[in-house]
Amino acid sequence: METKPVNFKNLSREESYGYDRKTLDYIRNAAAHGLYEIRGMGAKRKLPNFDDLVFLGASMSRYPLEGYREKCITKTLLGTRFAKKPIELDIPITIAGMSFGALSANVKESLGLAATALGTSTTTGDGGMTQEERRSSKTLIYQCLPSRYGFNPDDLRKADAIEVVIGQGAKPGGGGMLLGQKVNPRVAKMRTLPEGVDQRSACRHPDWTGPDDLAIKIQELREITDWEKPIYVKVGATRTFNDVKLAVHSGADVVVVDGMQGGTAATQTCFIEHVGIPTLAAVRQAVNALEDLDMKGKVQLIVSGGIRTGADVAKALAMGADAVAIGQGVLVALGCNGETYFQNGAHHDAIADYNALGTAPGYCHHCHTGKCPVGITTQDAILEQRLSPEVGAKHLKNYIKTLNMELTTIARACGKQNVHHLEPEDLVALTIEAAAMAGVPLAGTNWIPGKGF
């Protein structure tokens, strides 16, 4: 009797779905090192995302706007609930919070220069405010994080808004990390840490423990700043419906929801890939929570985590966000994962430096090493020279400008004179998963899974 498979040669090389090469590599790494993998960037796995939605452009039933001649407003107001001085931005695209420490001082300056030129805001990170970023940023959001590294009332008073960070999409429930190679003398001094320690940030705030406490903490921040500055509350996306409601209850002017595609400078891979929910699902829950409380338009919503394109921005806005925040896209615009870096008027090959890290352009997530081949996520005195603030700012300005043009192109096609008029009715989903998560019908049907027919 024939017992062997007919096509023996190929089947003998069949890759296991459960134990594929990636899993084998993971197990071997764990066995070799006895320590989990830590890396940068966000979730790499395939997730339902904004690409699974499409717009219903105007046609017979709706009237479009002329692409280049008719005005499409992008002005965005944030923090109108309690603050005496709300944030007024020219565009609904902001720069997400990323720390000096994770990023070089040059990069922080680039972000400020570009944001200022674009009429938008940039955000500090775990590690405090640098003079470079305050100087270069017209509108700077100051984060209040669990670690309170470098946190002080002088910078609080210099800020234009305050963002209380509860969590981050890449690691909801976890604190930050900054490995020793990035804790150089300046970073160490700002954070009051010994030079070169593998820094582990707290995951809980030191002086409050729940939403009722947070309400008092927010009041303290308001009292210190004489009720001038908007207070944002940032949550990593998990139980978003309840978390957004509690943030509103605590007195937030603005809620920032960061989905699991959001990036990080260093976190355990198991955390990045397995904790949190996709941004698409989080936006719907956040908007539902605001509508449930009759707070839509009174408390603004900023969405982040995997916003890459103008279409992503338009879709987030149509679902009910007031603005978006971008981190990883911003870094890519600055040169992250590029084959070359631009220094002294010429492009230089960076591939050998990627190879030295065991990676290649296009796959690099080695922010945690501090050896960024293109000089972005580094504190190394030589590497950081590979990105000048002016060159970085120019590329970033181009990138965000492109996104904004794409956003208004889509809004005009949907017949909107204001990008904030985009609405869920303008969207349909291409997959059942996306339809269920985003709460918009599957294309060509009236079916929203979970809502009946």
């Binding site: 670690s147 309170r148 009332p153 010994p194 593998d198 002086d207 409050w208 903490k217 009292e223 210190i224």
Partner: protein
């Protein structure tokens, strides 16, 4: 110097704090008395000039929070987060303090004559804290810099995940936290404790204190530690 009185039974808190941020900086008023605090939260927060504030009674959360240069005295007890993130100056609680007293203080001196609750001196970043009584569990958790003098006892996990802060305890310690260890008291330690007790106005024998600091075994990721912190 003029003296001013705010009665929180009659005046809103915002009026007091706004005066302390603006009018007080003109330097004419040297002393402010706050009457009927009645446990109100956020009394005298964000001060930024060398004024004296006396809160007559009990304060709620974050009294003297983020203080810089001022001297804030609370004659009663203080709620959660008293003198949190203080930069300089002094906050003196005559009664007891709740959780997170002096959390993430970068400088200045916090004196608590009575006991302090959980997580006293958590994330301390350079401030000094003197507690006349005992402190609750998880005190000085992740404390990075600064000093804590505890004249009474300490609860569980004292000094867990300490960085460079140094703790001095006179009474019993229920347990030390991960990476904390007892160390020899040097002459410099005895002098430091004596000076802090003196500044706090507390009378104890500095030689009766034990020193606790970090073993520094958690400073670098170590696969062989087996997470047995």
């Amino acid at each position: 110097m003029e003296r001013l009185t705010f009665d929180l039974a009659a005046q809103p808190l915002r009026e007091l704090n706004t005066f302390l941020h603006t009018g007080a900086k003109e330097g004419k008023v040297g002393h402010v008395t706050v009457l009927n605090p009645d446990g109100a939260h956020n009394i005298a927060v964000g001060l930024d000039c060398p004024i004296e504030v006396e809160v007559v009674g009990h304060a709620g959360y974050y009294a003297g929070g983020m203080n810089k240069s001022a001297t804030v005295t609370i004659t009663g007890s203080a709620g959660t987060g008293v003198a949190e993130n203080m930069m300089s100056g002094k906050v003196h609680v005559k009664g007891f303090a709740s959780n997170g007293a002096g959390a993430s203080a970068h400088g200045g001196l916090l004196v608590i004559e009575g006991d302090a609750g959980l997580r006293c001196g958590i994330s301390l970043k350079g401030g000094d804290i003197v507690v006349g009584g005992s402190v609750g569990s998880f005190s000085a958790f992740m404390a990075q810099a600064g000093r804590m003098v505890i004249c009474g006892d300490a609860g569980d996990a004292l000094g867990d995940s300490l960085y460079e802060a140094v703790l001095y305890v006179k009474g019993k310690v229920k347990s030390l936290g991960a990476d904390a260890q007892y160390e020899e008291m040097t002459e410099a330690d005895i002098a430091a404790v004596a000076s802090l007790l003196d500044q706090a106005g507390l009378d104890h024998d500095p030689k009766a204190f034990r020193r606790i600091a970090s073993q520094r075994a958690l400073y670098h990721w170590n696969a062989d530690a087996n997470q047995e912190y």
